[in-house]
């Protein structure tokens, strides 16, 4: 009797082994049967990623710099930011990281767009239904805390190494903040304001797009900021499953203790993150200009 309390009554070693084996072999046969179908399901994304990377690599660098400066100006309406990004890219190119940087930009912009375009609608849905929120929150918790290779191993078995598994790894980790903060932002909108909107005869859709989302924008943009930062932090992990880009030299540097190489490529990742973020944040602020504009007061 005492024995029962002293030692945890665990599964026998043999049973446990068989249990693990059953799961492993079930996954193996799943991957053998459906692997190719799943792979071709992701093919369009792969083609788009390859096309974007090739485009970025094939375009002469002065044009890329001009386009970046132009995008910065369009988004942020700030000459300072445009100039800063030109200087950053010039430095990156001068230090011999141009090609890796282009590959990383291709992956990260697709990943960010994907995260935002899935994350914001999901966040809105969560905000409108408590049941969805109860279901999605634990999933987000898993996505943020599960050790990366735990889900990457099955992904590798299904899709092999390369861009698509890299994209999945980045998105799984980077999407939760935008979902959470969209949800939070909309839930925080004052009930009185919604009541007022209702009183003016706004239907659900008008309430959402005319009142709730605009008022939730500060939170949504905080989410976008977090998503971008986390996506760029995942560049190195993505390189661990064969994605070209700035992560590869970082891995090389870590393995061989090349301090300068690691620092240069690491800082290039940081620079990309800052440019991406500042442009989008300025854009977000411009969307909220009415907050300080005199005619809307």
């Amino acid at each position: 009797m005492l024995e029962f309390f002293e030692e945890f009554p665990d599964m026998s070693r043999g049973d446990l082994r068989d249990f693990k084996k059953v799961i492993d072999s079930a996954f193996r046969s799943f991957s053998r049967t459906y692997g190719e179908a799943i792979e071709s399901f992701f093919d369009p994304i792969l083609w788009f990623l390859i096309w974007l990377e090739k485009l970025l690599l094939a375009t002469p660098w002065p044009i890329i710099m001009l386009v970046i400066a132009g995008l910065c100006y369009l988004g942020a309406r700030s000459w300072k930011l445009s100039l800063g990004s030109i200087l950053t890219f010039a430095l990156i190119g001068y230090l011999g990281m141009w090609e890796d940087t282009m590959s990383t930009i291709a992956l990260i912009s697709v990943a960010t767009l994907l995260c935002i375009s899935i994350g914001i609608p999901l966040g809105i849905w969560m905000a409108r239904s408590d049941r969805v929120q109860a279901l999605v929150t634990p999933v987000l918790d898993v996505m943020q805390t599960i050790p990366i290779f735990v889900y990457l191993l099955p992904v590798l078995m299904l899709l092999g190494i390369g861009k698509v598994p890299g994209l999945i790894a980045v998105c799984v980790y980077a999407m939760p903040p935008i979902v959470r903060l969209t949800n939070l932002g909309i839930r925080l909108v004052d009930k009185d304001i919604i009541e007022a909107a209702e009183a003016f005869g706004a239907d659900k859709k008008q309430q959402l797009f005319g009142v709730q989302i605009p008022l939730a924008l500060p939170n949504i943009f905080a989410g976008i900021n977090q998503t971008i930062m986390m996506a760029l932090a995942m560049v190195v992990i993505a390189s661990m499953i064969g994605v070209r880009g700035l992560g590869i030299p970082v891995l090389q540097a870590i393995q061989n203790q090349y301090l300068a190489l690691g620092l240069m490529n690491g800082l290039a990742i940081v620079a990309l993150a800052i440019i991406f973020d500042r442009v989008l944040q300025r854009y977000g602020k411009r969307l909220q200009n009415y907050r300080k504009g005199p005619n809307n007061d």
């Binding site: 991957s31 990457l152 590798l156 092999g160 190494i161 661990m240 499953i241 590869i248 393995q255």
Partner: protein, 334 residues
Amino acid sequence: MNKLLALFALLAVSLAFVSKHAIAENCEFQMADMNWPSATLMANVDKFILEEGYGCKIELIPGATTATFVTMNEKGKPHVAPELWTNSVAEPLEKAMEEGRLFSAITGPITELGEGWWVTPETLKRHPEFKTVLDILERPDLFPAKEDLSKGEFIGCPAGWGCQLSNQSLFIAYEMEKKGWILVDPGSKAGLDGSMSKAAERGENWFGYYWAPTSLIGKYNMKLMEFGVPFAGYENWNGCVAKGPEVCIDPKPSAWTKSIVQTVVTKKVKVMTNVMKYFGKRIFPGPIMNSMLVYMEDNQAQGADGAIEFLENYPEIWTNWVSIEAANNIKKAL
């Protein structure tokens, strides 16, 4: 009468003792139990065979390559390293051997080991005309790269590993780019393993770098390809290929450098004739070692469990390593 019986009994006992002692010689020593699966399996097989077959007494000492080598060299303990990859300790080992501190009991205790370029067994089944790496290099179309279907994909070594540089050099030496190949960096061991097991699971073609003895090679029965080119000398390999394309502009095509694995012993064990005779014959065929590693991984078996499994299942191999008498003793003990 009783006295006489007692005397006989005593005589018989002492005779038995002597005869046991005759095979036993005085063999009590320490053996390195190194921290990767094939080495720990070998150490445990040696322990079982020498203890049960020859009456030795062996203590296993856990440790990694460098630590084990240094203490063997400096302190003379542990007395045996069953699977020492000597490339990493080549210089000090040579010195120790010259000065008579360490001795090689056998070179190549496992066959077909080392690094090289591998393909899946299905590839060879579909294309029996592939005899060497050179044949494969002519057919990049059979290994289409996921990201550029017009190119063949060769999976190299993860970023930052020493073998990454050697693979990059050989990629240049064999003019693979011109032949329509791209060199894919799998990024990490997990990436390399994943890419190989995915292809092997589905019976797809796969061509890339790996090494043996490893459980993955055994699990998927991967095939090591001959290069079809002789080893082009240490000057080319150590001075050029291994340094990578940034240092070495003009690498010559070459087979992969041989990994030298030895069972290394100290003076104390060198004089134990039976033990040395056993080590001299004890060669694990590569495929069997690989399949043992698969067994150990599947069953999460320790070295000792693996050793019993090996001794039970492959008597046709290990009985050749020992005398008939020792073989009988071992079989009894199993």
